[in-house]
Each structure stands twice: as structure tokens, then as C-alpha cells.
């Protein structure tokens, strides 16, 4: 009987691994001079980490030694930062995966030290749009709302971070890491806006009228179900449910949103779906949801799928595991109406696994912006150069064998954020999803 315990702990561990939200990183200008000994040690470290953790063991055993042998002599001649970057680029270029890259030392410290955590909120969230960032949402009655902050306003600074400079640095990155870096910057901008209750954050904005203003916002406790899961800090899970009614009582679309995939929210999610079962369609809002316990996609997905089907496959060095949906009962069976999923650059990890899986099996249509492209369990290791090496330790593929890591969820309908929509409180991605649901209703 003891074995029965371990099965489920295994699922938790897996989810835990898959759930880690992406860390924050931006590009920076590295120092030019570098000790040769540091370059060699850094080269050796990166090589060893890949050898020990990269999931493609056939590649490691057949090619990785020769990569080391051919490139290490170059490491012994390096005296500049650019030389090391070039060398490591050549080495990692031998791995045909998109998620092996370095975070420069000059910004690596930010990765380690600036996760805001806590369960306070200022009530505002922002998103990168174009070369800057806009206020995306403001909760009614929140400190941000009371301070006169509205969606659509341009965000110039969040504490000491100058938004345009940060965005510019990210845009200078190569294409492969840019999507995750953009997502990471979104997390970086939003993290300080949810400090522990009682802490403050200083923001500089430009209003729709073009006038600049500054505010210091003091966070209030975040609403939601506080959950302490393992070593993670307490997290406030929030499930929102909205029945969009027309003609008095008819629900033309039900909207269920949640900010994290935590088991503690499972009963609420079940109630939400059952509450929306009479709607023409259901919209699952995963915008801003950074992931959570990966195994939850198997249960939540079951509300919408009548038979067991895989949402994707995770492969570590040792195991290949399927994220197999467990069909659930909403009424007589799973919900059979159309399902739309909303994602954005802050939808990561488990959210991406779910959205892509549902999209790939043909059960959902995805709306919004491309997601964080951070669906794999990845680790960060410090290097002798001070850089941080980001490297995946497992592979995850969607039901068609495609990777999410590095690519993100590509919406079926990309709906960009605009200042005009936001300033009018128009949720364009949601409106597009509802319009799609209604088009299906009318066509049937």
C-alpha cells in the first residue's frame, strides 16, 4: 500500500518542476576584459552542466565530448568577454534547442534578488506594448484605482526601473531568447506591483492626456485563497467567474479566470465550470497565469474532453510521462460547448501546456498574445564568469510533437493590446473570444 502514496507525490513533484515561473532577465552590456582562467572555467562549467542534465543523452554521448575537445583550446586563448560569448554561442549552437542561453553577469544579480513575492497588491498590472508598457488592468477600489491610475496609461518607471530602457535591451536580444525575455520583463515590471501588504511601490506614468504624473502606492492584502505548498511562499490563488448574459438570463459566454494552477483551487474551478455549463461557450482566461502544478491540467482539462487524451509529453533523462486528461463530469458528461482560451506574455508553464494541448487536440481556440515560451522545467546555474546559465532539464512536447519552450503558445487569433482599447476598458482578446463563440452558435 505504501506505493500508492508515491504515485501522487510523483505527480506533485512533476508539477512543481513544471510550474516554476520564468525568472526575470534583460540584456546588458557586459564588461569587455576577461581573465583567461575565468573563461576556461566558465566554458568547462557550461559543458559539464549540459553533459549532466541535457535530456538528449544520445547527443551527449555521441557529440558532446568532441565539442569539448574541439572548442576548449579556444577557451584557453580568450581574453575578452566577447570572445567568451562567441565561444559559448558556438558550443551551445551544437545543441539544436532554443532554450540554452546565458544571462549576462550584469543582470544576473537581478534574477536572484528581485522576486517580489508576498501577497500584497497595488491593484494594477501592466503589459509591454510596443516599445513601452501600458497599464493593463486596475482593480476597482484598489490603491492604484484610488490614486487615479487607469488602463491605457503609459508606464514610464516602476521603482528604479526605466521601462523603455528595459524594453529596448530586450529587443536587442537575438530572436530565440527574445520571447522569453519579453515575458520575463513583464514579470519584472509586475512583480514590484504586488509587494507584501504594507510595502510601497513608486510608479511614474503618462496619462491619456499626455501629462506625466507619479504615485506611491501602498499594497493592500491580495484577495484570494492563500495556499502554502511545499517550499513555495504563501500564494494567493484567485478564481474569477463571469456569466456574460444577454436577453436577461441567457449566458452567451462564461468566463473563468485564475491566476495560478494550485490544487487548492481545484474545488473552485470545478464549481466555476459547472456554474457555466449552460453557457453557449466557455472562455478560460489564463492571462497573467504563470503556471503551477502541472498535473492539474489533467483534471481541469477533463471538464472539457469526453475521453482520455494526452495534452503533451514530458521527457526527462529517465522517464517519458504523458499529461493524460482524466474525463470529468460537468453534468451528464464533460462540457461540450466551444472553449476559448486567453493567453498573453505572462501565461507560462502549466498555462502554456494546457493552452497548447487543448489547441492541438482541437478542443479550444486560443486568443490573445503569444505566451511566455517557458513551458519546460529549466534550471539556472551560476558560472565562474558571474553569468547565469539557463538550461532545460526536461523536454515537453505538445500532442503533435511540437515544443512550447522557446516558441510559446501561438494564438489562433492574435489580438494585440492597444492604448485606445485599454483606455476605453475594452478587453479586445475577450471580446474576440466571445464573438467567436457567438459565431459558432449562430452558424449552428
Amino acid at each position: 500500500m505504501k506505493k500508492k502514496i508515491s504515485k501522487f507525490i510523483g505527480a506533485l513533484v512533476l508539477g512543481g518542476c513544471a510550474s516554476a515561473p520564468p525568472s526575470t532577465r534583460v540584456s546588458d552590456v557586459p564588461p569587455q576584459r576577461l581573465e583567461t582562467s575565468v573563461a576556461v572555467a566558465t566554458f568547462d562549467s557550461v559543458w559539464s552542466i549540459v553533459r549532466q542534465t541535457y535530456v538528449d543523452t544520445a547527443f551527449v554521448s555521441s557529440k558532446w565530448n568532441s565539442v569539448h575537445a574541439s572548442l576548449r583550446p579556444r577557451a584557453q586563448t580568450i581574453t575578452t568577454r566577447a570572445g567568451l560569448d562567441s565561444l559559448l554561442g558556438d558550443m551551445l549552437g551544437e545543441i539544436h534547442d532554443s532554450h540554452f542561453y546565458l544571462i549576462p553577469a550584469s543582470v544576473a544579480s537581478e534574477v536572484k534578488s528581485d522576486d517580489s513575492g508576498g501577497n500584497g497588491t497595488t491593484g494594477m498590472s501592466v503589459r509591454i506594448v510596443g516599445e513601452g508598457a501600458l497599464v493593463w488592468r486596475v482593480e476597482n477600489g484598489s490603491p492604484a484605482a484610488l490614486a487615479g491610475i487607469h488602463p491605457g496609461q503609459s508606464v514610464q518607471r516602476v521603482n528604479d526601473r526605466i521601462v523603455r530602457e528595459s524594453v529596448k535591451k530586450v529587443m536587442s536580444l537575438a530572436e530565440a531568447p527574445r520571447q522569453r525575455a519579453l515575458s520575463d520583463l513583464d514579470f519584472k515590471l509586475n512583480g514590484p506591483l504586488s509587494p507584501p501588504a504594507g510595502d510601497s511601490v513608486h510608479v511614474s506614468l503618462v496619462g491619456i492626456d499626455g501629462k506625466s504624473f507619479e504615485r506611491t502606492l501602498v499594497a493592500i492584502p491580495k484577495k484570494g485563497t492563500i495556499s502554502k505548498f511545499g517550499n513555495l511562499p504563501p500564494i494567493a490563488g484567485v478564481v474569477t467567474v463571469d456569466r456574460r448574459l444577454v436577453g436577461g438570463a441567457h449566458c452567451n459566454a462564461g468566463v473563468v479566470g485564475f491566476n495560478i494552477w494550485l490544487p487548492i483551487l481545484a474545488p473552485e474551478l470545478e464549481r466555476a465550470v459547472k456554474n457555466l455549463a449552460d453557457c453557449d461557450g466557455i472562455v478560460i482566461d489564463l492571462r497573467g497565469n504563470p503556471g503551477g502544478v502541472g498535473a492539474m491540467v489533467m483534471g481541469f482539462g477533463g471538464f472539457f474532453v469526453p475521453s482520455t487524451v494526452s495534452l503533451g509529453t514530458m521527457r526527462t533523462r529517465d522517464l517519458t510521462l504523458n499529461f493524460a486528461i482524466n474525463p470529468r463530469q460537468v453534468g451528464a458528461g464533460p462540457y461540450s460547448g466551444p472553449v476559448a482560451i486567453l493567453v498573453d506574455a505572462m501565461s507560462a508553464s502549466t498555462s502554456e501546456i494546457f493552452a497548447t494541448g487543448m489547441q492541438r487536440i482541437g478542443r479550444a481556440r486560443v486568443f490573445g498574445q503569444r505566451s511566455a515560451a517557458a513551458a519546460l522545467p529549466a534550471l539556472m546555474n551560476g558560472l565562474p564568469s558571474g553569468d547565469v546559465f539557463v538550461h532545460a532539464v526536461a523536454d515537453f512536447t505538445d500532442p503533435r510533437g511540437g515544443r512550447i519552450e522557446g516558441a510559446g503558445v501561438v494564438p489562433d487569433e492574435i489580438v494585440p493590446l492597444t492604448e485606445a482599447d485599454l483606455s476605453k476598458n475594452i478587453d479586445a482578446p475577450l471580446e474576440a473570444a466571445v464573438k467567436w463563440i457567438q459565431s459558432l452558435r449562430h452558424s449552428s
Binding site: M1, K2, S6, F8, I9, V13, G15, G299, R317, D318
Partner: protein, 248 residues
């Protein structure tokens, strides 16, 4: 650490091959299993009508501490609830016919296939006593070490066809470790287990500390109490969500 479980299991085939020529020096499996059963008080275990086991479960690396309660009723029923802070209750059960699982991540499920075979066989107290009639074959395959203890590795082939491995101490006769491949909805997962701190409860013994390694993680289950009852009034309660699935 991540690969220890599967490597051990994978290595079993090699171990079996490499010792083939030396099998004459290995003690017969039947004798090892019989000694184990005798040592732990297998006969008393088989007489028990109701056994309630309680304890805790710790995954230090993940910071998870859980509690569990296992109820076993003769002849072959069981239910187990593991409560994990931040997760909720994880329930598994077998009522003699139907096996189920219910947890916040995946929801209620009826067990089928290899999962059902496994729970069906292990709900039988004869499994804990390692009664020979449950197996179609048993073979000593290696003189090895599990944890820190030398032991004889015995391959057990259950009636369902699944294969597991026990490792018995040559000195105490106790099972010091085991290896198996667990069926899960996500796929098969190799598990290596170390047993220690055997204690006597009534007329039988159980290992009060069980350390499992799987997927690179380690979890330690510690039994705090084992109570033997008459079985009178005790029942296995199938959750309503499972009943709904059965009726479907």
C-alpha cells in the same frame, strides 16, 4: 539522484545475467520469502481482520509534509487518505471489486489495467505476508546491496504478470528494500524503496520507516501507529464522486 530509480531497475536485467553462472550460490527464493514471512509474523498478519496504520510523509527537498491513514479490511479491501497541506486529500481505495483514485489535481478516477491489478493484489494482506500463492514465480537473482545493507534480490512474478523485486537481508531475513515499476496515468515510473526500523505491533512487525526514491526525489514515510481491530462495523467508503463513475 534523478536517475537512480530507473537505473537500478534497468540494471536488474544485467545483474540477473551476470550472476546466472553463480546462481548455485544464491539461496532459493522460496526460502528467503518464507523466512521473511515468518520473521515479520506473516501468520498473524493474515489473521488480522482490520488494520489501521497512521503516520507522516516527508519530502524534504520539496518542503512537503503530509499525513496518511490507511485502513485495511480482510479479506482484500483498503482505503488510504493522504493529506498534503496546500494540496488537499489524495484518496485511493479498493472495495474488493472496484479500485479508485481521487485527488485535487486529476479528480476522481476508476483504476483500470495495470493500476487496478496492482491495487487488487496489494489490498490482499497475503501480499504483505508474501504468501507464495500470490506469485507464479520467484527467483533469487543477485547478492547485492540496497541502501547500506547487503541483501538477496528476489524477482517476484505476480499472478497479474507484473514483476517486482524484494531484497532480503541474509542476517535478519527482513526485507531491506524493493524495486518496482509503478503504473500511473502518466506512464510507468520506476521506484526504489528502502525499509528500516522494523517494529512489532501485536504479533507482527512492519517497517516504520520507508524511503522511496522516484523521479529523482526522495520521500520518507514514517509510521506512527498500527492498530489491529476486529473489523466489526468498519467499512470501506467509496466517495460519492467515485460512485457516480461506477454508475455511469
Amino acid at each position: 539522484m534523478r536517475s537512480s530509480g530507473i537505473r537500478l531497475v534497468t540494471a536488474l536485467g544485467l545483474a540477473a545475467a551476470s550472476v546466472a553462472g553463480a546462481q548455485q550460490s544464491l539461496p532459493p527464493a522460496a526460502g528467503l520469502v518464507a523466512k521473511y514471512s515468518q520473521t515479520i509474523g506473516g501468520a498473524a498478519l493474515l489473521k488480522a481482520q482490520q488494520v489501521t496504520t497512521k503516520g507522516g510523509l516527508n519530502m524534504a527537498a520539496a518542503g512537503i509534509n503530509a499525513t496518511f491513514e490507511l485502513l485495511q479490511l480482510a479479506p482484500n479491501k483498503m482505503q488510504m487518505t493522504t493529506t498534503i497541506p496546500g494540496v488537499g486529500a489524495i484518496r485511493v481505495g479498493f472495495d474488493g471489486t472496484t479500485g479508485w483514485s481521487m485527488d485535487p489535481m486529476q479528480g476522481p478516477r476508476l483504476l483500470t489495467g495495470k493500476e487496478l491489478d496492482e491495487i487488487k493484489e496489494e489490498a490482499d494482506p497475503r501480499a504483505s505476508a508474501r504468501s507464495p500463492e500470490l506469485f507464479t514465480a520467484m527467483q533469487t537473482v543477485a547478492d547485492t546491496t540496497m541502501g547500506t545493507e547487503r541483501c538477496y534480490l528476489v524477482k517476484l512474478t505476480w499472478k497479474s504478470g507484473r514483476e517486482t523485486y524484494d531484497c532480503y537481508s541474509p542476517t535478519t531475513g527482513l526485507m531491506v528494500g524493493s524495486k518496482s515499476v509503478q503504473a500511473t496515468p502518466m506512464g510507468d515510473i520506476p521506484v526504489a524503496t528502502i525499509y528500516s526500523d522494523y517494529k512489532k505491533f501485536g504479533d507482527f512487525m512492519v517497517p516504520t520507516v520507508t524511503t522511496q526514491s522516484m523521479m529523482g526525489q526522495q520521500q520518507v514515510m514514517t509510521i506512527s501507529s498500527v492498530e489491529v481491530g476486529t473489523g466489526a462495523g468498519a467499512t470501506i467508503v467509496m466517495p460519492p464522486e467515485i460512485q457516480a463513475l461506477v454508475k455511469k
